[in-house]
Symmetry: C2
């Protein structure tokens, strides 16, 4: 029998039983006690170590639970047979491989993906958040409906009907933690063996998502009305991903005729669908908002996806999918078991935010704010008198400058950056390298810059480009 001499630290904060357990465990691990060897009885060891018998029993029980020793009735405890027991070696990833990567900062940044967060309704959000957590409501922390809470879905469906002309019931809506997740879920619902057509240039994130989720992805040429339906038909795709109300990044609005053609394309074959990404339709500076394509769809061919990232804040992580009835059915049968990805508290805050009229007020405020930035940027650009054409300026939070003076995008960007102004080239949205790059096209997003900073930045751009 193995003689255990354990140096117990009486004043240590590790309990005695744990010290005994750890000692024996390490002896076994390091092969100093061979397998099959008998351990002292709990009575013998407790006398030997001068501790209570229950302390030794606890240590042995732990060793038993973890499988280091085995108990044989009437015979005692024996070391288990553990051949080549693995050494504990910490598994370490290369630290900081990328963790510290920070995006470069520029004095003026015309990012087309900006959201003005100075205007985030902090007080309201705090107030609603406090209200939601007021009582000890266990209900709020129980697992909720996989599609999102019915009350929130009701609020979204009624908002969508009024503001976007979307026709749907709350049962068709799935609330999820951001567009990326919802697109993953959608790909799962649609199943594999699809060919997805996107416009080019397009939203790079969507292209990459489809491609990585092993869909067969292709791009289809656009004209000034949006995706060309004849080309779409030729492409062999059965899913078309479009942004009819405000194409990103070109800002194109798809006219009613093209919409009709697109819907007809989808109707011609079973299993064809149109994904309508309505990412920033809230912001339009001329007339009424353009209604969503979904509202024209009589045959359940349009999958609508919208988000609160642009209209409230990117970090709240709430988006929604509106599925046509045929896909709702597949979702219910095969995917409803997937739990919701948004916490109930957050869903309740958002529901109150919409129902109590805060969302509409916030949108009005943001629309006014962005409009005045938009107006200042447009008038400053016109005063600049450069040799470029402006487009995509009726909606969203960015516009495009098309240069035809022979200078490349790269050069124009480099000149601007040298003055501390970050601008973006359209070629960054050319997802498969098929775009004509003769013209240099620069994107200017204005959501993140106030009017004075826009004036200063355009002055710097003038210096940069026209010296």
């Amino acid at each position: 029998m193995y003689e255990l001499t354990i140096n117990l630290r009486q004043r240590d904060k590790t309990p005695l039983y744990e010290q005994i357990y750890e000692y024996i465990r390490d002896e076994i691990r390091e092969g100093r006690i061979a397998s099959g060897e008998k351990l002292p009885s709990t009575r013998a060891l407790s006398r030997h170590l001068d501790v209570s018998r229950s302390t030794v029993e606890l240590a042995y029980e732990q060793l038993l639970s973890e499988g280091y020793i085995e108990s044989q009735p009437y015979r005692g405890y024996f070391v288990s047979q553990i051949d080549g027991l693995y050494q504990i070696r910490p598994a370490r990833a290369e630290d900081g491989a990328r963790s510290g990567r920070e995006p470069e900062k520029y004095p003026y940044d015309f990012t087309p993906n900006g959201v003005d967060l100075k205007s985030f309704p902090y007080n309201t959000w705090r107030k609603l958040s406090k209200e939601c957590l007021m009582d000890d409501r266990a209900e709020l922390f129980r697992l909720g409906c996989p599609q999102g809470e019915p009350e929130l879905r009701r609020a979204i469906s009624s908002y969508l009907h009024q503001a976007r002309g979307v026709n749907c019931t709350p049962e068709q809506i799935i609330v999820g933690a951001g567009n990326d997740y919802l697109m993953m879920l959608l790909c799962a619902v649609l199943g594999s063996r699809h060919r997805v057509a996107l416009e080019n240039p397009t939203y790079r994130q969507a292209y990459r998502l489809f491609a990585n989720l092993s869909c067969d992805v292709c791009t289809v040429d656009m004209d000034e009305k949006g995706m060309r339906v004849d080309e779409l038909e030729k492409s062999g795709a059965d899913i078309a991903f479009v942004m009819p109300s405000h194409q990103y990044p070109l800002g194109t609005v798809m006219p009613i005729r093209r919409r009709t053609e697109l819907l007809r394309w989808a109707d011609r074959k079973d299993g064809r669908y149109i994904i309508e990404d309505d990412y920033d339709s809230e912001f339009r500076y001329k007339g009424k908002p353009i209604p969503a394509l979904q509202g024209y769809d009589g045959n359940g061919k349009v999958i609508y996806i919208g988000t609160f990232s642009k209209s409230i804040a990117p970090a709240i992580r709430m988006s929604y999918l509106v599925l046509p009835p045929s896909l709702c059915e597949i979702y219910r049968k095969r995917w409803e078991f997937i739990s919701s990805t948004v916490s109930k508290v957050d869903q309740l805050i958002l529901q109150k935010f919409i129902e109590e009229g805060y969302y509409e007020r916030h949108l009005n405020k943001m629309r006014a704010l962005y409009r005045s930035r938009h107006d200042v940027l447009l008038s400053e650009l016109k005063d600049m008198g450069g040799d470029f054409a402006i487009s995509g300026e009726n909606a969203g939070v960015h516009l495009l400058l098309r240069f035809q003076d022979g200078r490349s995008e790269e050069e124009l960007i480099r000149l601007a950056v040298a003055k501390g102004v970050k601008v973006y080239g359209l070629s960054g949205y050319d997802v498969d390298g098929t775009q004509n790059t003769e013209d240099a096209v620069i994107l200017l997003g204005y959501a993140n810059l106030d009017e004075n900073r826009i004036r200063e930045a355009v002055r710097l751009l003038k210096e940069a480009w026209y010296g």
Copy 2:
């Protein structure tokens, strides 16, 4: 030229330009104005309707933006050619197809998936939530790190190291909105063409997820030590999904030797991985917690997944994945572009909850609470004196009763339900119908019932089963 006689409602809250726009749009949609037809000039129409010219201009601009009309320089406005324009037909899903489905309620429910929410730390959560939202911090609403905020990942990695013996850096952790989402992400990272082996019986949600995500799924027999590694080898699987610290639903603890064999199996071939679902290891009533398998893994073969659903609350939607370095690399290259699924506010609350010691205190409180329920249930069951063996009782929040009196699971459940007590059968976890069903095994979860209710429920069970 088409004569437009529009009955304008001067006192209506719909602006005049919108009334004009809607009227003309509907005329075009319904084919009452043919394509190619010329509209009156803005001047003529404004005189005809007795409204300002800019009102008509606004209406025309909206029709132009949406593509209902076209403008020809010096000639005027013409109705676009829109063949077979779709009727707007609301796309309605069958209402209430399932929306109203409520789980049945029983006076006593021994669900094995319970979490006691009466003990949720409401005050602390409120306090932390208020603290996090205190200042107008735009940073908190900007898009965060796709993996989860570095500070939260640091807190989780240090907790995992201390409490679970998991060795990892914060760079290996991905925070996500629940296990289901993280498993979807993991399947994406692993890529297709895998054969996944699960124990049987097992966690149904995991089985279904793998199967639906078009993995090739199989089950591997268990013995009293857990998944049989010889069977695993024969199965041809390259991914093994296990719960070594507390198998669900059987409650088996995988001993060190089986763990070693499993790690060796993974080491024998490139591309083999073990997924360790450590779902409720926080609750153990005998000795110390069983350390995680991940801590024994020296070769980067274990993918660890943990959740705060069981230990805090299901609806907070926060889980985490610990990837070995090889998979971290694939994640960074191909999947890091997917935005985080958890809001930054929620991440900050959880981070403070862990760092400020609340999590540990909460776990201690819950452990004590569940332990006393566990003790009461065990002693009541022993007093019942029925002909069953109790197992899986050292950890988690449920135990199993194995009957050998010839009665079926179905019968035992029916008898209990007749007395108002809902109990669960093991066969519900038999994911592919390969289990021996000779013994009737009943699961009793006690997280949701306080001690008095447990006493009452066991009394009713005794009446139900032994009259």
